[in-house]
Every structure is written in C-alpha cells, then in structure tokens.
Symmetry: C2
Subunit: 250 residues, 2 copies
C-alpha cells in the first residue's frame, strides 16, 4: 500500500489530452473522472485531499461484503464489477465499474457494502479519506447538489437493470449492454470508429444479464453472423449500429 502525500497534478482543464487531476500522469493513460458533471468539482477539490493508490490484478477482489472501508475508492484504470453472490453459485453483476467511476456512491456515507467488487482487468484505483470528503461536502452546498444528481443517476441505472432483467428478451438485453458500454466509454473518449476495448468474458455478460454463459455464446455468435458486431482480441466493434439499436429497442 503505497501512499502519495498530496496530488501535485492540478494542471488546468481535464478535457482534451490533459491528465486527470485524480491520477498522476504516470498512472493513467486517459482522463475519465470528468465525465460526470460532479467530478469537475471533485477534480479541483481532490488536489487538497490525501489519497493513496492501489493496484489489483485481474480476477482479484477489490473489496468483499464483510470488508470495512475507511476510504472511498475511485477507479483510475481498468474494468471492475460490482456483484452479489447467491447460494448455489449464482451471481448477479449489478454494474461494471469503468475508469473514473466511484466504486459505489454509498461508500461515501457508509463504510461497508453488501457487494463484492472484483477486478476484471488489472485495476488501479485511488482511495480518498471519507471524513475529508464529507467535510468537503458539508462545506460546499454546490457539491451536494451535484452529488444528488450522481446518486439519482446511479439509482436510475440499477432500475434500468431491473427493467431489463424483468421485461426484456435475451437479445434485447445483450444488445443494450453492448450499446451502453460503448456509450459510457465514448463519454470517456475511449471509443474510436465504433470500436472499444472489451475485456468481458461471456460469463460476465451472462452474470450481468441473468443468462447462462452458453446462451450468451449463442447470442454473440448470432450477432456476429448477422454482421452486427465483431469481437477480436479483446476489442468489440459495432458494425451495424442501426440494426443493433433496433434489437435493443431504442
């Protein structure tokens, strides 16, 4: 657990090729944390906070349901997932955590969570002291408004998941997942030519969308045969966005 004293990288706007204030240059390829409006504020503010950086190998746990967190973790690099494990080996992935995402907004207020956070790729994340963050929140009412928006958005995403799982077909779900991920990565400037990094295994898609991995396989094969997408060496390209959106019901 290396600890960096204070973040000295507070160089200007986070857009374009500038680096994220949350992550020093040598740790981060792109700046993502800005994608949510709220983060503009955090970005400026976090330079004043103490934080520490951690790296976790693919497949390793970042946090378990029992763990106690005195710090709030934010992902700088890599993909993670937030999931719940049920008896019988069943698992439901509740969200994929992309660079710039706070791992769970609830951790801003509570030191524990009932979810497992697992790294999908190698993940670097930075943790901030909760007490300091809360202090910051109480001092700046603006921040609170932004936080509430962030929270509402997080809630809307889980609700959307419930809707997908409850009332949409397998095709629809998988198409939506792909489109959503591309949209989220797009906001981070991590999409080029409708192509994105795609480290998910088929069983991740299955556990996220409430399907069996075998069925996910057949769906993906079918999507490829129909010329909708292409998956190649960890990258996914959308070949026919119009048709894919139609299937997704958008």
């Amino acid at each position: 657990m290396k600890k960096t004293a204070t973040n000295t990288d507070d160089s200007g706007s986070p857009q374009g090729n500038s680096l994220c204030a949350v992550c020093p240059a040598n740790e981060l390829n792109l700046c993502h944390a800005v994608i949510k409006a709220s983060w503009e504020y955090f970005d400026r503010a976090t330079a004043l906070l103490s934080s520490s950086v951690h790296t976790v190998a693919a497949r390793n746990n970042i946090s378990s349901p029992a763990d106690w967190h005195d710090a709030v973790p934010i992902v700088c690099r890599g993909w993670a997932m937030s999931a719940v494990v049920l008896p019988g080996g069943r698992r439901q992935i509740l969200s994929f955590v992309l660079p710039g995402d706070i791992i769970s907004t609830a951790l801003l207020f509570e030191p524990t969570t009932d979810r497992s956070i697992v790294a999908i790729t190698e993940v670097s994340y930075r943790t901030f002291n909760r007490a300091e963050l809360q202090m910051l929140l109480s001092k700046r009412p603006n921040l609170l408004v932004k936080l509430s928006k962030m929270w509402i958005e997080e809630m809307a995403e889980v609700a959307q998941l419930a809707i997908d799982l409850g009332r949409r077909s397998a095709d629809e779900r998988v198409a939506r997942l792909i489109l959503k991920l591309m949209q989220r990565l797009g906001m981070r400037g991590m999409v080029r030519n409708r192509s994105m990094e795609f480290p998910l295994r088929q069983h991740h898609i299955a556990d996220a969308m409430g399907l069996s991995p075998i069925h996910v396989n057949r769906l993906l094969v079918s999507f490829r045969r129909r010329g909708l997408i292409e998956i190649d060496r960890g990258h996914l390209t959308i070949l026919n966005p119009i048709e894919l959106r139609r299937i997704a019901g958008l």
Copy 2:
C-alpha cells in the same frame, strides 16, 4: 386539489396509538411514517411545513413520467406502485409504495421522474413543498445523515430486485415478495397473526417479478395447495412461514 394550510396535529410521540404527525387523525388508521429512523426527524419538523392532502381512486395515476412536481409526495393511506412502461405493453413494477413511504426519494431533489406512480387501492398522500424541505435539510446536518441512510436503503431495494429478477426462480421470487411485503407491513404494525391486507392483483405480482400473470396464478395455486399461504377477500395469511422462507432461500 384541496389544500390544508398547516398541520396542527403535532401531538406527542408517533409510537403506540398516537397518530402520525404527517397525517391528521381523520385521514389515517395507523401511524406508519415512523418506521424509518429518518422519519422521526421529519415528523417533528414537518409540523412546520406547509403541505396539502390529495386523494386518488384505485387504478388512477398519481404521477406520470412527464409530470412536473413542485412538491414531494408521501403516502398516508393505501397502496401504490412505481412502474415503468415499455413498448409492447410490457411493464415493470419497481416498487410497491406503502403508507409512510416517500414516493421516490429522487423527488426530493428533482422535479421529474421517469416512472409512473399508480394507485393500487384508493390512496391518500400529502405533498410537501420541495424548497422548504430542502431548506430544512440544509439547516440540519443530522437530517442529511438520515437521508443518506434512507437513500442507501432505497438503492439496496432496487438492487435486490435486480438480483431477484436476474438470478432467482419464479417460486423464489414470489415467496420473497410475499415475505418482504409482510415484513414491511409488520414494521408499520399492519400485520396480525401472520395476516395482512393484500390488495395486489395477480398481474401486479407478475409485473413486479417479471412473470406472466398466468404463471403467477399457477404458482399461487401451488402455494395454496401446499398449505403455505391463504388468500381470502383481499387478505393474505402465511400458514407455513418456515417452508415459505425455505423456498425464498432465507
């Protein structure tokens, strides 16, 4: 839209047989709002707020996705549901709103929501002025902590729904729904002898649990045949809680 000026019913503690500070005696059979810790505070505070009472007949909309809300509604009496309608007539119920529930925590901060709120029974609800409520929040840091807990709980419920829909069998889901509703009503003192008011139609259960109404029917018939529950004239009784919990996976 009748409007009552100020709530004059601020009589003592909300426990026991006393009446809820939020709802005057003649509108409410029992006091429920206290079940969440946060409401203890609201109860005392809301006597100072202006509010108005509305009544809506069963099946009628309380709010539509497009509606603009300057006020935050809280249910005093009756059951409602919060749902999203999809193309193709599909519908996902995201939560049942019971007496004492704020209709959606998000409405504290945002004037619109993407959900339909529909009365299941006749519903009385009271709306509070958002600006005043927010003022109150900013003045009392304690309230904010309570609010965050409330919010985390709401998030956990939606997440639990997603888990149920994604990774649990139909039996499991329906058993869990029944147990959860009884637990929630129990906290409000609305359960006697494992029996509760149960105004849900089978299609409500279906839309909440991502099933077809016919399948729900067969499940309920089977539950009854197995001596697990009894449904009679709008009341549901759990006859064999141990077995029902086993099916629910608890």
